[in-house]
Subunit: 346 residues, 2 copies
DNA sequence: CTGAAAGCGCTAACAA
DNA sequence: TTGTTAGCGCTTTCAG
């Protein structure tokens, strides 16, 4: 790992600029940082030297003195996932508005990697951290929090830590979605969700149960399937749900990946003429949902809003806000496009 | 912007650890960095003190001495775009394999923002930079390159700079796509591309022209429309292309956003019974293309491959490689799903 | 095997 | 208005 002859440190420093401009190092610092009290003539000399040498301030050294890095870190499950990339985009934008650079990292939903990433960001002395947690214990951040690190959690709440948090109204959203299906006449509704250990998943199943109970619709536990969105697994679940007597008449899917997997399995299925296709409602909106036939109805959440609010809470802290930790819950919105409004089999 | 009483610097240092452990600062450094030559007993004392204080090395200070930050920067057009988020995910993964953290930034296709971001990363003394360029002149990186900064360009080539570059076979891919349409009997093919100032766009139009010429198919300039994927604009272009006498029988779209916009406009159009719908082939694959009816045929490129190769070239440089700048061109692949294989109107 | 001293590039505090 | 000094937390070099 030797970088060869050219060293990353072979860059002009303020000392070099000072020598060329014939002034002191501190005067260069003043010019670079726009401090008042430098004669126009002197300043011009310094700027000339800066341009000549291609000088650029070493922010790492600066941070050593000032204690602020003007950088924040973001830990999501996977930056390549559309949900998280929208969230990331929003965090990045807020960071930029505050003159901050952004570190990003994917935890792959692994608690250990979440901690590694967060602590690596801390070793860089980021000013703040936005985290979509995978871990079930976040006390590892305790020491950092004690020394001024700002932290905001998104999408899932922290455990063992009292910090600002932004969540989606998962239970309410799932409740609304199931109520929507019930309102269209469905009574036997299958629920395909992610593993229950995932906070959002557990919350959403709860919404399903609540809505069913509130409507006096009995729940058959075999209608509920929680696990990863693996095609093979989904296929057999669908086989079972649709093959039962009586079969479910509607499916509720707990996130966008499950929705897509279910759509694909449904599309691959043989549908004898006149056979009934179940209604479908998915949690999370996704691109092109409107162009499918039938168009897919969803309970939409707001990934960019999650990111934006979290980043804004973070910068409020960095701006000196000292209120108790806040919790913001963003509402969901049902987008009816067709698949969720089909009546049950007669 | 005062952070209150708790200062980000109020963290234990090696000096603090040394005091608690009753050893010298240097011994702590040895333990933290896994250097050999520390008695097990001494090491145990140090580790104990580290755990007690919640010490974590300040990588910023370390970098000041070593000259390496173990960080790289990535500038894309927009992290929230699926194409770039896949690319970002791949870069992040390679960075992690090399023990590097990743800064990300979106240029929004603005040359000035690209430069601001890249130079801000440089001020942090990142070891390397992966850039999807928006600018038409990258000489601003000259000084940094001179002092050991590694740079790799992706998706579009640099101008005024000789550095490693990874591109998609844009011209060839568009050529293949148009040839595919021609092979299915189409002669009048509309081309909807992005603004021609964008490198990839210009390359792809060229592929279109080449393929048409190679097949002896005359080109009507009114079939070619280059500009942003605004729905209103696309609608009028489609009106014109399909309303002409004779009308085009197939559409080739120059990127995924255009493809989606076109799909939406086509879906919103009234199609009298028996009327002909044009064949459609899009550059870039996109999720759910297979579930639309008809399923959308595409010339697929490999966004993750672009990111991965670029990052690997970068780390090869950081590993000391001294060969002349390399250029890698990734092939495209036609995925026939139906929309691009429809025969022309009889 | 362990430690003392110097200094990375910058800013804070104080002098001149 | 400008300069000098000290020191941020670490690694490097050299001495014990």
């Amino acid at each position: 790992m030797v970088a060869g002859t050219a060293d990353r440190r072979d860059r002009p420093t303020m000392k070099d600029v000072a020598a060329v401009a014939g002034v002191s190092l501190k005067t260069v610092s003043r010019v670079v940082n726009g401090e008042a009290g430098v004669l126009p003539h002197t300043e011009a000399q310094v700027r000339q030297a800066i341009a000549e040498l291609g000088f650029r301030r070493n922010d790492g050294a600066r941070q050593l003195r000032t204690g602020r890095t003007a950088g924040i870190g973001l830990v999501v499950e996977n930056v390549a996932d559309p949900f998280y990339s929208l969230l990331t985009g929003a965090v990045e934008q807020v960071a930029r508005e505050h003159g901050c650079l952004l570190f990003t990292g994917s935890s792959e939903d692994d608690p250990q990697r979440e901690a590694e990433l967060a602590l690596a960001f801390c070793a860089r002395r980021v000013d703040g951290l936005v985290i979509v947690p995978a871990a079930s214990d976040h006390s590892y951040l305790g020491p950092e929090l004690g020394s001024g690190l700002a932290v905001a959690f998104v999408d899932r709440p922290p455990i063992g830590l009292a910090v600002d948090t932004v969540l989606t109204a998962n239970t309410q959203g799932a409740h609304d979605g199931v109520a929507h299906l019930l309102a269209h006449g469905h009574r036997r509704i299958g629920y395909l969700g992610d593993a229950e250990r995932i906070y959002t998943s557990a919350e959403r199943v709860r919404g399903y149960r609540d809505a069913m109970a509130a409507a006096g619709a009995p729940i058959n536990e075999s209608w509920i399937s929680l696990g990863p969105p693996e095609p093979a697994r989904i296929r057999s679940v669908i086989d079972q749900l649709l093959g039962a007597q009586p079969a479910v008449t509607a499916l509720f899917t707990g996130n966008n990946r499950l929705t897509v997997t279910v759509l694909r399995e449904l599309a691959a299925r043989r549908w004898p003429p006149g056979s009934y296709r179940p209604a479908l409602l998915g949690f999370d909106d996704f691109e092109l949902a409107d162009l499918l036939r039938p168009a897919v109805s969803v309970v939409a959440q707001d990934p960019a809003g999650l990111g934006r609010h979290a980043a804004e809470l973070l910068f409020a802290r960095l701006g000196g806000q000292r209120t108790p930790p806040r919790r913001i819950t963003l509402p969901t919105r049902i987008i009816a496009r067709g698949s969720g409004e089909a009546p049950p089999a007669s």
